[in-house]
Symmetry: C2
Subunit: 109 residues, 2 copies
């Protein structure tokens, strides 16, 4: 039996290796593998930005050591940044939205 956090860690590891194993180095993502991962697994996030350039930009930003491959640590840094961004969005949405509906229980003045 796994906790939610343990499941989250497993999903991150499994998803990376699902794509990293497809071609070349089994333990890193090539540009093609990364693109596939981003489109298939995070399409609803990245797809919301109108331009397909988003994928290119992420790839360039991620490949810190510029070897054309994204290793697991670089991948986790991306996922961490995305998760923090989602959390911020979620909190802003809650803060902006809730009081307008007349719910004031949690509101500080």
């Amino acid at each position: 039996m796994h906790s939610n956090l343990e499941s989250a860690m497993q999903m991150l590891i499994k998803t990376f290796h699902k794509y990293s194993g497809k071609e070349g180095d089994k333990y890193t993502l090539s540009r093609g593998e990364l693109k596939e991962l981003l489109v298939e697994e995070l399409g609803s996030y990245l797809g919301n930005s109108k331009d397909n350039e988003a994928v290119e930009k992420v790839m360039n930003d991620l490949d810190a050591n510029n070897d054309g491959e994204v290793d697991f640590t670089e991948f986790i840094i991306l996922m961490g940044a995305l998760t923090v961004a989602c959390n911020d969005f979620f909190l802003e949405y809650k803060t902006d939205d809730k009081p307008k509906d007349g719910e004031s229980a949690q509101k500080k003045d």
Copy 2:
């Protein structure tokens, strides 16, 4: 419908707020809340280290700005580091183990 990566992100966000909302600042983990999160959600990882000092050490390392509270970004940095460590362990285990069983298909010479 969510991909595995989207589910993982949601689980990280949900789990953080499940504990951060218990006392004091709703959007940060106090030492008590962090301890509870670590024991309940990651007990099987941290429990494997014999000493309970592990929890104390994590708390001290995490609280980067030393305000006695762990914010979401600090929490994500911990989870990222843990996930990278898990992945390394998983890969070492696979590498050490597989060839001994006579499976040589993936082995490089």
